[in-house]
Symmetry: C2
Subunit: 143 residues, 2 copies
């Protein structure tokens, strides 16, 4: 046990760290570029394959109308395409368009430079801690 903060302190500290780092991440967006929210949704589509808006909204932990907006932005840019659901006329299947995949590839290489640089400054052991924590935090967020 390296640290022995109280549960309250840990909670507060983690919330502050998340809040500020999130703010910092949002700042790093070059103008005219995808926002963190848009990128995250597009990434979910790549991971999840073709998803309906509802499924995507659940994956992103966002209400359906919010996802409608995000999807609209991505569609404006031609990054996703929609196909009718084979058996259910209400639903729609969303997936990244060819251009969407291309953009994702670009981001994977070019983007996140700030965060990647920061992580590179850490020791291998610290990076390992962060990697394990990232998995835990995802689990937390997943419910």
């Amino acid at each position: 046990m390296v640290t022995q903060a109280s549960a309250e302190e840990l909670t507060q500290r983690l919330r502050d760290a998340i809040t500020r780092l999130n703010r910092r991440l949002r700042q790093e967006r070059p103008v005219g570029d995808l926002t963190v929210t848009q990128l995250s949704a597009l990434t979910s589509l790549r991971i999840g394959g073709a998803l309906t808006p509802r499924e995507l909204s659940e994956a992103e932990r966002v209400q359906p109308p919010t996802m409608t907006k995000i999807v609209a932005k991505l569609e404006e840019r031609g990054l996703i395409s929609r196909t009718p659901h084979p058996t259910d006329g209400r639903q729609v299947l969303l997936s990244p368009s060819d251009q969407g995949f291309a953009v994702l590839d670009d981001y994977q290489r070019v983007r996140d430079e700030w965060l990647a640089g920061k992580l590179a400054d850490l020791s291998a052991q610290e990076r390992d801690t962060v990697a394990r924590a990232a998995a835990l935090l995802e689990r937390l967020a997943r419910d």
Copy 2:
């Protein structure tokens, strides 16, 4: 080394985890309650003592006009008070009001229940990982 993800994967994963957990945290706000942003600013004032708007905006990694808005919200609720700067007529000193301190104390006890509950579900070892990572993430955000 438990994990051996590539640097790119780690970056992407951490960004996603931060983004989603942040979203989840924002959701947990009871209506009529302080937002995460407002709480963070108020906390900075408690930690930093009397700060000018500029200093506070730097602490929160936000542009000055954004901080003007946040401060206005907090003032509406009577949670911070402003006093003129002793030597510089342009500047203002902000600090939590008595009520602001009281609210902070309340939050410290009552709030963050969701996150605290989640953390309680982790094993002691996992919690330790998260605690160490939180410290690292704060350092990352600090620049």
